[in-house]
């Protein structure tokens, strides 16, 4: 069994991984960076190691050499990459292996096969899973793109070969747009993945986004842990997820989970992974991509199965056999995850940077909060804008929607604007409640991106009048000024 673990990540996921690892008796190491030397995730570890000074202009958690060296120098047995950063980087997995460090994830060749989205399409087809018509090789020119698009029929979608997570994607509905979209997609792909290569696929219009969680050990056992419904998206970014999906009946669920397991088996998958599907209006589903890591939304699966996915990752990486068989996996109730991001929804979801001045967490049973911030934490342009994930579990979909709404009404963040009012608006929306929503939901079905509680506008007017009467000074301000929180941090660090 693995005895020590370096978490090559930060924020809520570092804390979440540390929690399980420490519960299992594994000694947990976290990496301190200059960008956030007193971040909350550091307090979740047994040992904190400092990231060394380097000349490289690369983010600490993307620096393969330095991270592997930290593990070797500190005699740490294994590395957990979390999500994002190096979690799907085959080179990182290979470098770990070479250095004698256990990489918690699938082997490098599997990451590589699934990371190249064109190769992944080919493997999916081989294992009998439908894929949308499209490229067999990366596009070399706009003209090639146009020719292929004519063949498979518009609309098509341009995707980054090395992509994932929505970046480098563009939908093209008419030939005239191809030039602009092709150049935007390649430049974004280059920025995001260091690889400008793109390909095209037939664009499935307004599908549902359904993904299947699979787990495979090193002994050939593969099981699935059901599906997650991730259709509430904006610009291919997931905003709210649930498990199970209201769109699947047991027949379709069986077909989709079997397809995911078949794919995993055919590529000799090991560790935790997610097979993402597009489900169209006819109930036909197509392979989209496979994520070879822990997902942000993994807690909803944990809630309904009672299994700890990080525990399974550590056990598998230790060489253990899967502790549960497929028929022992029991699915209970319904779970929803809300991503509470620091974004100004009313201004078009732009990041809302600043300092968290206060957090009020909802309280109650079967409410889980995964967060990496505390009062005083700063939301910076360095990292993503996630403040917390709120995960709620109840017996039925109707109940979990009400319970999540109640929790959101008790969840308050001061200092930055968050997506809490947006999540409320989703959960109040009749189409969402009906279950018949698809990935066009956020853009087409929401009257307002925020939900307003009764009397809110009246109270805002009253507050303005009160402030005018009392000459109240704003608590936060647009003006550039030294903030006491920032000052305090500066004094401490320099």
């Amino acid at each position: 069994m693995i005895q020590s673990l370096l978490i090559a990540n930060r924020g809520e996921i570092a804390i979440r991984i540390a929690r399980t690892a420490r519960r299992m008796g594994v000694v947990v190491y976290a990496v301190r960076t200059k960008k956030e030397p007193d971040a909350l995730y550091l307090s979740a570890a047994d040992v904190v190691v400092d990231f060394p000074d380097t000349e490289l202009p690369v983010s600490e958690f993307l620096d393969i050499g330095a991270l592997v060296k930290l593990a070797v120098d500190n005699e740490i047995e294994a590395i957990h990459p979390g999500y994002g950063f190096l979690s799907e980087n085959a080179g990182f997995a290979a470098a770990c292996k070479k250095a004698g460090v256990i990489f918690i994830g699938p082997p490098a060749d599997v990451i590589d096969a699934m990371g190249d989205k064109i190769k992944a399409r080919a493997y999916a087809m081989e294992s009998g899973v439908n894929v949308p018509g499209g490229s067999k090789t990366p596009l070399t020119s706009v003209d090639e793109a146009k020719t292929l698009a004519e063949k498979i029929g518009y609309p098509v979608i341009i995707k980054a070969t090395a992509g994932g997570g929505g970046r480098g994607m563009r939908i093209v509905s008419i030939p005239g747009d191809m030039q602009l979209m092709f150049s935007q997609a390649t430049s974004e792909a280059q920025n995001a993945f260091g690889n400008a290569s793109v390909y095209i696929e037939k664009y499935i219009e307004n599908p549902k986004h359904i993904e299947v969680q699979i787990v495979a050990d090193n002994h050939g056992n593969v099981i699935h842990l059901g599906e997650r419904e991730c259709s509430v998206q904006r610009k291919h970014q997931k905003l709210l997820e649930e498990a199970p999906s209201p769109a699947l009946d047991s027949r379709l669920r069986k077909k989709m989970t079997s397809a995911a397991v078949a794919l995993a088996k055919s590529i000799k998958y090991k560790s935790l992974g997610t097979v993402e599907f597009l489900l169209d209006k006819n109930g036909d589903f197509y392979f989209m991509e496979m994520n070879t890591r822990l997902q942000v939304e993994h807690p909803v699966t944990e809630m309904i199965t009672g299994l700890d996915l990080v525990e399974l990752q550590i056990l598998i990486a230790s060489g253990a056999k899967l502790p549960v068989k497929q028929q022992e996996v029991k699915f209970q109730g319904w779970a929803i995850e809300c991503r509470i991001n620091a974004e100004d929804v009313q201004a078009g979801f732009v990041p809302s940077m600043g300092i968290i001045r206060g957090i009020r967490l909802p309280q109650g049973n079967n409410i889980r909060i995964d967060t990496g911030v505390r009062p005083g934490s700063e939301i910076t342009p360095f990292f993503d804008s996630m403040v917390a994930k709120l995960i709620v579990h109840a017996d039925s979909r109707a109940e979990v929607i009400e319970k999540t709404l109640k929790a959101l009404r008790q969840f308050h963040v001061k200092g930055v604007k968050t997506t809490i009012p947006f999540c409320k608006a989703v959960l109040h929306n009749p189409l969402f409640r009906s279950g018949y929503f698809d990935t066009s939901f956020v853009e087409t079905a929401m009257d307002s991106p925020v939900h307003r509680e009764p009397q809110e506008e009246f109270l805002a007017a009253l507050l303005s009048v009160y402030a005018q009467t009392h000459n109240t000074t704003p608590i936060t301000s647009d003006e550039v000024q030294i903030d006491p929180w920032v000052l305090k941090k500066r004094i401490r660090n320099f």
């Binding site: 979801f349 940077m353 009020r360 307003r452 509680e453 009467t469 109240t472 704003p474």
Partner: protein, 172 residues
């Protein structure tokens, strides 16, 4: 001793929604003849609570420019201008004397790099129409017009790095 004085204060929102209060002695509030017991409470966990007749909401006063307030109630943003009936009428009058309307500035909501500018000076734009693409936090963000009107001036160039709050485009 001050003498008792009662005045009327009218809060007007962006969409012309209007709430009219009477304020006596600077702290007794009435709305539609109903007395309001109003308190602004700083709680020990850092939150500010607006309590009105026992209804409590976490609020923030985000910014104030003269009589213009940006506030958050429950995390949702609202803008109100607070005026007396006199100043309200004067402003209406001024607006009617200056039918050309006023120039709205589109500012950058965050620091970032201008990747692309989608409009040209002189062009008519609709509220909600994308004006330019700003890259920040590794994402490309469309900056949308907050008003309908004509683009008067573009104050940034492609590939320029801009600070938070920098003026990007003026629309009249």
């Amino acid at each position: 001793m001050k003498t008792t004085n009662t005045k009327r204060l009218i809060a007007t929102g962006k969409n012309k929604e209007r709430y009219s209060f009477t304020v006596k002695n600077r702290y007794e509030y009435n709305y539609k003849k109903e007395k309001l017991v109003v308190e602004l409470i700083d709680e020990p966990d850092g939150f500010t609570i607006l309590s009105c007749n026992g209804v409590r909401y976490p609020v923030e006063i985000v910014s104030r420019r003269q009589n213009h307030y940006e506030v958050l109630v429950n995390g949702v943003g609202y803008s109100f201008a607070v005026e007396t009936p006199f100043s309200l009428n004067r402003n209406k009058l001024l607006a009617s004397l200056n039918p050309g309307g006023r120039v709205e500035t589109i500012t950058s909501p965050m620091p970032g790099k201008v990747l692309d500018i989608l409009v040209e000076a002189g062009q008519q734009v609709q509220k909600g129409e994308p004006l330019l693409i700003l890259e920040a936090m590794k994402m490309q963000n469309s900056i949308l017009s907050t008003v309908s009107g004509q683009v008067v001036k573009i104050t940034v160039a492609k590939d320029e790095n801009v600070a938070k709050g920098a003026v990007l485009i003026e629309i009249k």
